[in-house]
C-alpha cells in the first residue's frame, strides 16, 4: 500500500462518491419535485433566490439543507436515544459503500476492483434493513414500528428475487466482478450488436428494475413510508435525521441506476468504440461521460415510473414478489442455462 495508491483512492472516492453521487442526490430532490410538477401540469418550486437569481428553483436543495441543519432535532419520549441517532447512519453508510465497486470508467477508474463485485453490493445493501428496522424500533412509536415491519418484510422478499435476477447475467458473462462484466459487454454479437446485458437478458432487466425499485421503497412500493396514512419508519424523525433518510433514498436511486447501467447497459462502454478501454485520452473522458449519461437517464426513468404508477396494496406487493417475480426469475435462470448449454 503505497502513498500514491492511498491518495489515488481518496481522490476517486472524493470525485465519484462525494462530488458526483452526493451532489447528484441533492439535485435529484430538485428533479423529483420539478418533474412531478411538470408531469402534473404545474410549475413546481421556483421561489428560492440568491441575489435575484432563481435558476429554475435549483437553490431549493440549498435552502432545504440550511433548514434541516438548523431545525430542532426532536427525540420522542421513550425513544432509545443512541439507536435513534444511529439509525439514519445505518441507512446512509451502506448506500454510500455500494458505490465503491461500481466501475465508472475503464481501467483503474473504480474505487475498489473487488472480485466479488456484485455479491459485495448485495451484502452491503442488505445492511440497509438495519436503518429501517432500527429507525422504526428506536422511535418508540407504533406507526414507525409498523412501517419498519413493512419495510423489513418488503426488503427481504425482494432481495431474493433481485439476487436471482442477476444470476443470468453472471452466467452469460461468466463473472460476478463488475469490472469483468463491463469488459465482457464490449463484445459484439454476430459482429455488430453490442452484447449489452439488456440485449442478452431483457427479462432479467425488467425483473431487476422492479425488484430494485421495490427494494428502494419508493412509489409504487412506498408502503413502508406510507405518506398518506403516515405509517413510516422515519415518521418520528425531524431535521437532519429525516434528511439523512431522504438522502439515502435518493442515493439508492443512483445506486440502482449505477448497477443497472453497469450490468445491463454496458457500464462505460460506448458501442463499437474501444471495447477494451485502453485508448486513454479523450476517449476515456467520453466513456466516463457516457457512463454518467446512462446513470442520469436511468435515474430519470425511475422517476418517470414513480410519477406514473399508483401505489400497490400491501398484499399485492407481497404476492408480486413471491408469486410472480420469484418464479419468473427462476425461469429466467433456467432458460439462460439451457440456451448457454446449447450455444456455447
Amino acid at each position: 500500500m503505497t502513498l500514491t495508491f492511498v491518495l489515488l483512492t481518496l481522490a476517486k472516492i472524493l470525485g465519484f462518491i462525494l462530488v458526483f453521487c452526493v451532489i447528484l442526490a441533492a439535485i435529484l430532490t430538485w428533479v423529483e419535485r420539478k418533474m412531478s410538477s411538470i408531469i402534473q401540469d404545474r410549475i413546481g418550486p421556483n421561489r428560492a433566490e440568491i441575489l435575484g437569481f432563481r435558476a429554475f428553483g435549483l437553490f431549493h436543495p440549498i435552502a432545504d439543507m440550511i433548514k434541516s441543519f438548523t431545525k430542532e432535532e426532536f427525540v420522542p419520549a421513550g425513544a432509545s436515544k443512541t439507536l435513534f441517532f444511529l439509525a439514519p447512519a445505518f441507512a446512509l453508510v451502506p448506500t454510500l459503500c455500494a458505490f465503491a465497486v461500481v466501475p465508472f470508467g475503464p481501467g483503474d477508474l473504480v474505487i475498489s476492483n473487488l472480485d466479488s463485485g456484485m455479491l459485495f453490493v448485495f451484502a452491503i445493501m442488505g445492511f440497509g434493513i438495519y436503518g429501517v428496522t432500527l429507525g422504526g424500533w428506536a422511535s418508540a412509536s407504533n406507526f414507525a414500528m409498523l412501517g419498519a415491519l413493512r419495510g423489513a418484510a418488503q426488503m427481504v422478499s425482494y432481495e431474493v428475487s433481485m439476487g436471482l435476477n442477476v444470476v443470468g447475467i453472471f452466467a452469460v458473462f461468466g463473472s460476478v466482478s463488475l469490472t469483468a462484466i463491463v469488459g465482457a459487454q464490449g463484445h459484439l454479437l454476430w459482429g455488430w450488436l453490442p452484447m449489452w446485458g439488456i440485449v442478452v437478458q431483457p427479462l432479467g432487466f425488467v425483473l431487476f428494475l422492479v425488484a430494485a425499485m421495490a427494494e428502494n421503497k419508493r412509489a409504487p412500493f412506498d408502503l413502508p413510508e406510507g405518506e398518506s396514512e403516515i405509517i413510516g419508519y422515519f415518521v418520528e424523525y425531524s431535521a437532519m435525521g429525516f434528511a439523512t433518510f431522504m438522502l439515502s433514498e435518493f442515493l439508492e436511486v443512483i445506486v440502482i441506476a449505477c448497477i443497472a447501467a453497469t450490468l445491463f447497459f454496458g457500464g462505460w462502454q460506448i458501442p463499437w468504440l474501444d471495447p477494451t478501454g485502453t485508448a486513454g485520452g479523450w476517449i476515456t473522458v467520453a466513456q466516463v461521460a457516457f457512463f454518467a449519461f446512462k446513470v442520469l437517464f436511468l435515474c430519470w426513468f425511475q422517476m418517470l415510473i414513480r410519477w406514473t404508477v399508483p401505489r400497490f396494496r400491501y398484499d399485492q406487493v407481497m404476492s408480486l414478489g413471491w408469486k410472480v417475480l420469484l418464479p419468473l426469475s427462476l425461469a429466467n435462470i433456467l432458460a439462460t442455462a439451457v440456451v448457454l448449454a446449447l450455444v456455447v
Partner: protein
C-alpha cells in the same frame, strides 16, 4: 324494487395482468406531459400568484361595504333585516335617531369577519341597497379577533354613492 344495473368488469386478460403493456401506456402519458411541458410549457395551468393576478369573476363576494346617500351619509336605516337574515349571526347594529329626518341610522354597525361566511344573505335582505359585498376586497387575515371586527367606518370607507330607489322615494 330498486333496479340495479350490474356493469361487468372488463375481463383481466393476460395483457392486462402482465401489467407491463399498461405500465407502458401510463408512461407514455406522463412522458408526453413531461416533454411537452419541459420544452414548450404549453400544458401548465399554474399562474405565478403574487406577480400575476387573476381577475375575479364579476359576482365575487368580498368584504362588505356600506353605501352612501347623495349627501354622503350612510344609506342604512338600521332596520335589522340583514342581521336577522344572517345565518352566521355576525352583524351587530346599534340603532339611533337621525336629527335631520324621521329615520333611524346605525350608531354602530359591526361585521365580524371571523364568523361571516360571505353568503350574501345580508345584501339580499337589505331593503334600501345599503350593504353590498361587491367591494372585491378580500377579508385579510389578522393576528387578533378584535381586528376582524370591522366597524361602520371601515365598511363606509369602501362604500360609494347609491341612488337606488328601492323601497320608495326618499327626500
Amino acid at each position: 324494487m330498486v333496479k340495479v344495473k350490474v356493469v361487468e368488469r372488463p375481463p383481466a386478460d393476460l395483457v392486462v395482468q402482465s401489467w407491463l403493456p399498461e405500465l407502458w401506456k401510463g408512461m407514455k402519458v406522463s412522458g408526453r406531459h413531461f416533454f411537452v411541458n419541459l420544452l414548450t410549457q404549453k400544458g401548465i395551468v399554474t399562474s405565478q400568484y403574487p406577480e400575476v393576478k387573476r381577475a375575479y369573476p364579476p359576482r365575487f363576494r368580498g368584504k362588505h361595504r356600506l353605501m352612501r346617500r347623495e349627501d354622503g351619509s350612510v344609506r342604512c336605516v338600521a332596520c335589522f333585516m340583514c342581521s336577522t337574515a344572517c345565518p352566521a349571526d355576525c352583524i351587530s347594529i346599534v340603532a339611533g335617531q337621525r336629527d335631520d329626518e324621521n329615520e333611524k341610522f346605525p350608531v354602530t354597525f359591526e361585521v365580524d369577519f371571523i364568523k361571516c361566511v360571505f353568503c350574501g344573505m345580508c345584501e339580499e335582505a337589505c331593503p334600501c341597497d345599503a350593504i353590498r359585498l361587491d367591494s372585491g376586497v378580500h377579508r385579510a387575515p389578522a393576528y387578533t379577533r378584535k381586528e376582524e371586527l370591522n366597524g361602520k367606518e371601515d365598511l363606509l370607507s369602501l362604500g360609494s354613492l347609491s341612488v337606488a330607489r328601492q323601497g320608495g322615494e326618499f327626500k
